[in-house]
């Protein structure tokens, strides 16, 4: 009870093509193994078992991070710990840095990969809401084709997403931010809790008068999938947010069946926590956005 995985066949390809061949040709239950931080706990408790695991850790070409004028490019094997410790990312995309730093603990971050965190699509995963808030593009490849999926089309629900059975997530692109844009990720984790109750990722752009000219606000963890809150985004437009952030539970137009409710706390409390995380994330993104104006002008 709880110690050891059941048997499976193990493959360790050293090239992406080899991996794509395997995933399309092997019959039975086939799984990709990246950092294993979500997969192995399932195997150990024998909640899940597979005929084949394809370990992609040997494919060196999938582990990269590139920052250039078009944006940021991540290989799926880039470790969450590497993101957390990367100063370029921290400087340019504070929300990615914040999300990475809030994943589990040092040890798990050192193994867990950005690709795995997105592919796993647990509502409690921290990278997905940020990816969505930044309009990322996710590249999926199979033996036959490669396709680019925009983040709003990627997440379907708990543990479900656009990755097909013979596909591997091979890259994540984050477009460059417009000038005077701030980003932020905030999550709320109760005392001694492993997973968060609620998390929020924001991207706010301001004009020369420090008014919001574009707002993206994503709520996650308490929802089936990371979701943009368009009513709240609209509410923020053209406002100066230096004072209070005008978000209240009335603006939260989330339908009951969109909630992913994993905790024993009451619904009323959850709403309170949600509003708090949204406000903190928006406030912090706004502050970062106006810094650009104040410094640049």
């Amino acid at each position: 009870m709880g110690f050891t995985p059941a048997s499976f066949e193990y493959r360790r390809p050293s090239t992406l093509n080899e991996a794509l061949e395997l995933i399309s040709d092997l019959s039975g239950d086939v799984r990709i193994l990246a950092g294993g931080q979500s997969l192995i706990p399932l195997l150990k408790t024998r909640v899940a078992s597979y005929d084949y695991l394809i370990d992609i850790n040997g494919i060196r070409s999938l582990n990269y991070y590139v920052h250039d004028s078009d944006g940021d490019f991540y290989g799926p094997l880039y470790r969450i710990g590497s993101i957390a410790n990367n100063d370029v990312i921290k400087e340019n995309f504070p929300s990615i840095n914040e999300a990475a730093r809030s994943v589990a603990d040092t040890q798990i971050r050192n193994m867990g990969t950005i690709g795995g965190n997105i592919s796993h699509s647990d509502p409690g995963n921290d990278i997905p809401p940020v990816i969505l808030s930044l309009d990322a593009v996710i590249t999926l490849r199979s033996k036959k084709q490669e396709r680019r999926v925009h983040s709003p089309d990627f997440f379907y629900g708990p543990y479900e997403n656009a990755i097909g059975p013979d596909e591997i997530l091979v890259g994540i692109e984050i477009p460059r931010l417009k000038a005077n844009t701030g980003t932020s990720f905030v999550k709320f984790r109760g005392t001694a809790r492993e997973f968060s109750l609620s998390s929020a990722a924001s991207r706010i752009t301001v004009d020369g008068d420090l008014r919001v000219s574009n707002a993206v606000v994503v709520l996650a963890s308490c929802l089936m999938k990371p979701t943009r809150l368009e009513e709240i985004e609209a509410e923020l437009m053209d406002r100066n947010l230096s004072g209070d952030v005008p978000v209240s539970s009335n603006d939260l137009k989330v339908k009951e069946d969109e909630f992913f409710y994993r905790s024993e706390v009451s619904f009323d409390y959850l709403i309170k926590v949600i509003i708090h995380t949204l406000k903190s994330s928006i406030r912090s993104a706004y502050r970062r956005a106006i810094k650009g104006v104040n410094n640049g002008a």
Partner: protein
Amino acid sequence: MELKFTLNGEKRQIDVEPRKLLIDVLRDDFGLTSVHSGCDTAMCGACTVLVDGKPVKSCNLLAMQVQDSEVQTLEGLSNEHRMKILKKSFLKNHGLQCGFCTSGMLISSFYLLKKGRESDDDEIREAIEGNICRCTGYVSIVKSIREADDILNKTSLEELEMKGEGR
């Protein structure tokens, strides 16, 4: 299946069942019993080892995942100056009671101290967030790491380099 890796500085090659977890290979096949198991959900950190210099939970890795990597356990770190200072400080400040979490704590704090600059108490607490201790309440552990950190930061970089551990 053949696994090749470097373990505590030595090149190793063994045949392992692919489903075998790293912790079991270290304990059963190599007798490295500093590596402890305290949970089955990758939460307690008693099994922490270094893979390519970074702490990971060896209960949550297939041994095959360290193919071509370098693994270090507490046994293999015993000659490191930083680890010696840490151990002394844990003994002096009672950073252990039952001692079951200790190897994992030492490895997580060793990694923290590698940064080569002083850490504040919050950083220390965050560095051991993935290591649960049920006995000490963390107070004496934080104190032990704090003192080791102070000692190491007083020791100049040159001295460390002379000991062959500079960066």
